[in-house]
């Protein structure tokens, strides 16, 4: 058993494999960087770094073939190589301690990077002055929220995910007395009032806001700082008798829910970015945007917010500004931008492995420092001895 393991380990732990991996990584990083000149950074990142292979498609046809290992592939082989080398060559001595520590730190970093790729979630919280929110919005994913308006204190919300809508089928839910049939789904669209100059001539829907608004499909944005205006046209069909109740235009651009009535029950419907609810809330007290005197150069952006968490008995004021995020219960809030002078945009990141690079950095730096100092001291000693001769 031991020998089989050894046989597997030896080639996997070889220094030659390390060198090949490093060289491949070098080519990959260079190619992935230069590619960003022509394609947008997110796409380049997905094609080159967050992939197992880089694919080449001949003449735009359906035919694709892998031409080079992608980031995940190189990273995985490098990680295996590192672990194998550790197992095979590990021996405790001062002369090796630095190297061992360095590579241990690298394992932590690569593993942490992988975990971040898999588990981290990024969203945004848009806050106007005085507004309080206990959720953040996804940057891309949407949901159709259908709410029954009851006289009680709480309303029940049924959220239909955007992925379901984009399939353009029909959806029903036990709590809904109607079916939702998607007539059209627009990942990004331009909404304009009907009858405007150069505007659309046909309204998008028969009921609600859509009766005055026309819709035009747009290509989706790939820039990080632009949000798509995702929209859909839905038809509601009563479960009683299968009668159509009309069509509605729903869009992330239409803030207010659109009200309608089915069999005497009152409902409201809105398409919105998928929400991540928190057990606490943030309210914006003020947002400031400072510039250097006599210039337009931004000196700083900062948001003063109140963090309220009844469960943990927290109620405090926090200042979030550039390079000073707020970390709370696994979420990190960054000052990301602003819409107007009294509203702020906070980026919310949930990354369970965010500490990996910090730990790894300390371990690797210590390791490298130990190794090089060990060599330098030995070297200076030899040089002195040579001089003495």
């Amino acid at each position: 058993m031991k020998t089989i393991l050894r046989r597997l380990l030896v080639p996997l732990a070889s220094l030659r494999l390390t060198v090949v991996c490093l060289a491949t990584a070098l080519v990959l990083v260079l190619a992935g960087t230069l590619a960003q000149v022509n394609i947008n950074p997110v796409e380049a990142q997905q094609q080159y770094f967050q992939s197992w292979f880089i694919w080449w498609s001949a003449g735009g046809g359906g035919f694709k073939m892998p031409v080079f290992p992608g980031g995940h592939f190189v990273g995985a082989v490098l990680l295996l190589n590192l672990i194998a080398a550790h197992i095979q060559r590990f021996s405790w001595s001062w002369s090796k301690a630095g190297i061992q520590l360095t590579h241990l730190g690298l394992i932590v970093m690569l593993a942490g990077g992988l975990a971040t790729d898999l588990f981290s979630v990024s969203s945004h919280m848009y806050l106007r002055q005085g507004e309080t929110k206990n959720y953040s919005d996804d940057d891309i994913r949407t949901e159709l929220a259908v709410t029954e308006q009851t006289s009680g204190a709480t309303n029940r919300v049924i959220a239909i995910p955007g992925e379901v809508l984009s399939a353009c089928g029909s959806t029903s839910h036990e709590a809904l007395p109607f079916k939702v049939v998607v007539k059209g789904f627009y990942p990004n669209a331009d909404l304009q009032m009907v009858g405007q100059e150069n505007g659309p001539s046909v309204p998008a829907a028969s009921n609600g806001a859509g009766a005055q608004i026309g819709i035009k499909a747009l290509p989706t944005f790939s820039e990080m700082n632009k949000r798509n205006k995702t929209s859909a046209v839905v038809e509601l069909i009563s479960n009683k008798g299968g009668k159509s109740l009309g069509t509605w235009l729903v869009s992330v651009e239409i803030d207010q829910g659109q009200d309608f009535e089915v069999d005497g029950r009152h409902w409201s419907m809105a398409l919105r970015f998928a929400r991540y609810y928190k057990d606490y809330s943030l309210s914006l007290i003020s947002f400031t945007h400072e510039t250097y005197p006599g210039t337009d150069i931004a000196k700083g952006f900062s948001s003063i917010i109140t963090l309220a968490d009844a469960k943990h008995n927290e109620n405090r004021q926090v200042k979030i500004h550039m390079n000073h995020p707020l970390r709370y219960l696994g979420d990190t809030y960054y000052q990301s931008g602003y819409q107007s002078d009294n509203s702020t945009i906070l980026q919310v990141v949930r990354n369970p492995s965010y500490q990996a690079p910090y730990i790894s950095c300390v371990i690797v730096s210590l390791g490298l420092l130990m190794q090089f100092t060990y060599h330098l001291v030995g070297f200076a000693r030899r040089a002195n001895a040579a001089k003495a001769l």
């Binding site: 030659r16 990024s122 952006f301 950095c361």
Partner: protein, 624 residues
């Protein structure tokens, strides 16, 4: 060589340097430009002496920090600024604008090739054409502009700057500014008194006068970005105003601020060629400012001295001197020349450090804040490492290497500095001294080590191929040096890159985003790791190590400048298309040098001779 000669040479260099520190004397019957150049204004977000404003403006318009007049005489930047502000019709006849593009010269119908500098008066009839062509170029993406478009765009920007700068104190054609302000203030007071006492509006003439004056002041306030009027004692930076804005807020003759009165008097005295009054007012105002605002005086005075000393220019001279002496020491008089070279290197390093620390003091920031200052710190770091090497191995190689890296990086900095103020304010995301001091400095020291190792490898190749000096012992020593410096480069690059990731995690919410600059740093780390692992695995030996280290130069240059030229990503500070051919040439040169190491030993003068020597010693006769 006599033992004291190296120290004598050092003494001469020190005396030469010291002479540059003395303040420039003003002749008895000339304007006291020296004091004028130290007067402060607030522009570009910070308080700076007029000397800096003048030098940076000339640098942008004419690529030099002083003016060469048609008569061949040289004029200091501050003197030119006084002329531009107070006597613009004369300044318009000075050759201020650098125009070298043949197409642009051709467009003006000027004989090509001989016209380099032109005056505003010459360009004035062509302003409309320049504006049209320049705006068209401005609409284009910076990356896709042709050389003509770049030139016309630059010329248009220079002309806009010139016209804007002209209006810093008052509008064109102002005759007697002090009188004008006084009349304005008294009329204003009279009108206000009349209104409050008898409830009657001011008469027509008064109203018309006040209206036209206010309109002119508003025009000036909107045009300028020079805030020349300092607040009274105790005021804050945000309380500085332009002269126009000050006049628009004025409510009585008593309230005329000291700065406004001083600039008005300076203006009138200069136009009247009244050197005595000009010098007296400049001194008085300077005195008032140092009493009212001691907190700002120290830095402005120091900055003027810093400008005057030009430590980086002196550093360049000393570095090249050290390099030449170190190289000569391999041919003649090894001990003496090596010692002199090292002493000059230490002096160069001292001047370089003075410049770097001065910038840190002036900016209240860590040393690297932009591409310009990164070049300064790269050279500085390389010099430290090289001095340690010289201490360990006394071959003069460390000195020569430091001389080259120091000179070249300061030359790069000099060229990067031609875009204006290099002590600019930091945008919000960079406003963090902690990270500027750690991530940026460490990564820059990584560049230092990488480039120094590369230069040492080139020394190995040149000595080995073109001379017989590369003995087995020296080859071994150079290998140890290169290996050791690469180790340091690995440490700095890795730690710097990870610190950068942590900063990104703090400000953008992600540790790594595959941004071009991040990738550039990663390339250096990967390359270092590759060199070290290939060596540990016995895959490369001496010459292989040298070849890979030379390639490291190309990778460092790509990471340092190349990614900025791509014009994409979050780190796009300092886009410089002009330097692109230089970068390509540098990378190709490194590739050629690296390939040279692959030539067989018989092509290496040193190795061939070594072989021969071994053979003759063994009794063989070389073939004819």
């Amino acid at each position: 060589m006599n033992r004291s000669i190296p120290y004598l040479i050092l003494l001469v260099a020190v005396i030469w340097l010291g002479s540059l520190w003395l303040p420039k004397k003003t002749k008895a019957n000339d304007f006291d430009v020296s004091t004028f150049s130290r007067l402060p204004v607030l522009t570009g977000g910070r308080i700076k002496p007029l000397d800096t404003v003048a030098r940076n403006s000339l640098l942008i318009m004419g690529r030099k920090q002083s003016l060469k007049l048609a008569s061949g005489e040289s004029m200091s930047a501050s003197r030119w600024l006084a002329e531009l502000w107070f006597n613009p019709l004369v300044a318009d006849t000075y050759p201020t604008f650098y125009v070298a593009n043949q197409e642009v010269l051709g467009m003006f119908g000027w004989p090509q090739a001989d016209k380099r500098y032109c005056t505003f008066a010459e360009l004035q009839p062509k302003l409309q054409k320049i504006d049209e062509e320049g705006s068209a170029a401005a609409d284009k993406n910076a990356k896709s502009r042709s050389p003509f478009e770049v030139a016309i765009f630059d010329l248009r920007s220079s002309l806009l700057l010139y016209q804007q700068l002209k209006l810093s104190i008052h509008l064109d054609g102002t005759e007697n500014f002090s009188k004008e302000i006084e009349t304005y203030a008294t009329t204003l007071t009279a009108a206000a008194t009349k209104l409050s006492q008898s409830q009657t509006p001011p008469d027509k003439d008064q109203t018309a006068f006040l209206r036209s004056a206010a309109a002119r002041y508003e025009q000036q306030a909107n045009a300028t970005n020079i805030l020349a009027v300092a607040p009274p004692a105790g005021g804050k930076e945000a309380d500085w105003r332009s002269t126009g804005a000050t006049l628009m807020r004025l409510n009585s003759a008593e309230a005329i601020p000291a700065s406004l009165a001083a600039f008005a008097d300076l203006s009138d005295a200069f136009r009247a060629q009244d050197t005595a009054t000009f010098s007296r007012v400049a001194k008085e105002y300077s005195g008032w400012f140092s009493i009212a605002h001691p907190e700002w005086t120290g830095k402005t005075h120091f900055e003027q001295l810093f400008n005057q000393v030009e430590p980086f220019t002196q550093g360049m001279v000393l570095y090249i001197g050290a390099f030449l002496l170190a190289c000569s020491s391999w041919l003649v008089c090894p001990r003496g020349l090596r010692k002199t070279a090292l002493l000059l290197l230490v002096l160069a390093f001292a001047v370089h450090s003075f410049g770097m620390f001065s910038r840190m003091y002036l900016q209240s920031r860590p040393p690297v804040t932009n591409l310009y200052s990164s070049a300064i710190v790269v050279g500085w770091g390389a010099t430290i490492i090289a001095m340690v090497l010289e201490y360990l191995f006394r071959y003069g190689i460390g000195t020569a290497g430091a001389g080259v890296v120091g000179f070249v990086t300061l030359l790069i900095a000099h060229n990067l500095g031609s875009n204006g103020d290099t002590l600019e304010m930091q945008v919000a995301v960079l406003d963090s001294n902690l990270w500027l001091a750690t991530h940026v400095v460490v990564i820059t020291l990584g560049y230092s080590a990488m480039l120094l190792a590369g230069v040492l490898a080139i020394v190995y190749v040149i000595l080995g191929m073109a001379t017989t000096k590369l003995t087995r012992e020296l080859a071994h020593v150079l290998t140890s040096m290169v290996y050791g410096v690469v180790c340091f480069a690995t440490l700095f690059s890795f730690v710097g890159t990870v610190l950068g990731g942590i900063w990104a995690d703090q400000s953008w919410g992600r540790f790594w985003g595959w941004d071009p600059k991040e990738n550039g740093a990663l390339l250096i780390v990967l390359w270092c790791a590759l060199i070290l692992h290939a060596r540990w695995g016995g895959m490369i030996r001496q010459r292989g190590l040298m070849a890979m280290t030379i390639c490291g130069n190309a990778i460092t240059a790509f990471s340092w400048f190349g990614v900025n030229m791509l014009g994409i990503g979050l780190h796009t500070y300092g886009f410089m298309s002009k330097a692109f051919p230089w970068l390509m040439a540098f990378i190709i040169l490194q590739a050629v040098l690296a390939l040279l190491t692959r030539l067989p030993a018989s092509r290496w003068l040193s190795f061939r001779n070594a072989e021969r020597r071994v053979l003759t010693a063994a009794g063989f006769r070389p073939l004819a």
